[in-house]
């Protein structure tokens, strides 16, 4: 029996509902391999993609003064406007659905946004060496009921949000996914970057399961229309030209001296 067919049979046989019943009893549902079951379509209900300080501990990002100064003098156009992938952790709080699939030894994140995919093996393989990617290199492992994803090998071309919170190529993100109920995943990430922040800092949010019957991911394409530019509200093209700027609504970004 191939695995996909097995899953289908498992679904029809009602194994998943019984797994949710377990979750109600306080235990995370399990996959046939006995791993915590994170599968389903998940969504955020926050605006962190516009300003990540919304979900940051104390709403504060501990900038090194020099990094903050560099950021304030740097580019003012969100890279996703020009179809750059959002990077990690931003992809996790983009306002688009995320479908998680699991197979033995791998957790697959399929993002509607830009049809990005992260194929996260859970054997803690070594990170790649000598290359930088917008989405970094993700390596996973299980800690009890929590999927821990360690992400390195980033370039410095992505932002954490539209509010111009930046990072360097030394960014290191550790994400933690814990299914805390039938319809909720607790998501936490520790963000460290010795060239940008004074200390590691944390974000946390809830991923909500989309329970709409028959829900499927659809196209979300950046370059399809508008001359290859993405237009996300609240961006507006300015009369003087191709300038998009998002004003930080929070006075929360502080340089720690």
């Amino acid at each position: 029996m191939n695995f996909r067919f097995f899953l289908l049979v498992a679904l029809v046989a009602g194994l998943l509902p019984s797994a949710f019943a377990q979750a109600d009893a306080g235990k995370a549902p399990r996959t046939p391999e006995g791993k915590p079951d994170l599968q389903g379509v998940w969504e955020t209900r926050n605006a962190a993609s516009f300003d990540v300080s919304e979900i940051a501990e104390e709403h504060e990002i501990p900038y090194l003064p020099a990094a903050l100064e560099k950021e304030q003098k740097g580019p003012r156009v969100d890279p996703i406007i020009h179809c750059m992938m959002p990077g990690v952790p931003r992809i996790s709080y983009m306002p688009f659905p995320i479908q998680i699939l699991q197979r033995a030894g791998v957790v697959i994140f399929m993002y509607e946004y830009l049809h990005d995919i992260r194929y996260v093996t859970t054997n803690s393989r070594p990170h790649l060496d000598g290359i930088d990617f917008a989405m970094g290199d993700s390596v996973g492992h299980w800690e009890g009921d929590t999927l821990v994803v360690d992400v390195t090998d980033f370039n410095d071309k992505t932002w954490l949000d539209s509010a111009r919170h930046t990072h360097s190529d030394q960014l290191h993100v550790v994400e933690r996914y814990t299914r805390v109920g039938p319809n909720t995943i607790s998501y936490e990430a520790t963000i460290e970057d010795p060239k940008t922040y004074t200390r590691p800092w944390k974000i946390s949010m809830t991923l909500h399961r989309n329970t709409e019957p028959g829900f499927e991911l659809r196209d979300q394409e950046c370059t399809e229309g508008d001359n290859g530019r993405a237009i996300h509200p609240p961006y507006r093209e300015r009369p003087e030209g191709d300038i998009f700027e998002f004003v930080r609504p929070y006075p929360a970004t502080k340089a720690t001296k």
Binding site: H82, L128, D129, G130, I131, D132, F133, A134, G228
Partner: protein, 130 residues
């Protein structure tokens, strides 16, 4: 190379584009009849998407130094072929071949790279220029 992979590579080459530029094809930018071969000093290696770039300072016939830009594969494709950020470092002497730009700028579609130790690395693809 199987035909599906060929097609994939063809699409990758034809439809990948630099942000801000119109989508372009190899045929629109580079001329297969214009074979370029230069030797010089690496000034920069940009292992990036959608395409990586190798920049080389080359002395022209008059002794003036000209910086050439060679376009090559995506970061992931080159990584699988063994390229790393430090594979090419500023100051390295290399020889590189490619197809020159139609607009006569010092730009070429890279084909073959000879490393300082004589090792030859393929930068293009079997059936299509990289």
């Amino acid at each position: 190379m199987n035909s599906k992979l060929c097609l994939l590579v063809l699409y990758a080459v034809l439809f990948a584009s630099t942000p801000g530029m119109a989508h372009h094809s190899f045929a629109a930018e580079y001329d297969r009849a214009k074979v370029i071969k230069v030797s010089g000093t690496v000034t920069k290696f940009d292992l990036s998407n959608p395409h990586s770039w190798i920049y080389v300072d080359v002395k022209d016939a008059n002794g003036a130094v000209v910086n050439w830009a060679f376009e090559t594969g995506s970061a992931g494709v080159l990584y699988k072929r063994g390229f790393r950020k430090d594979t090419l470092q500023p100051g390295m002497m290399i020889t590189i071949t490619g197809y020159g730009a139609k607009d006569n700028s010092n730009t070429a579609d890279a084909q073959e790279l000879t490393m300082p130790d004589g090792t030859v690395k393929t930068l293009g693809t079997e059936n299509n220029p990289g």
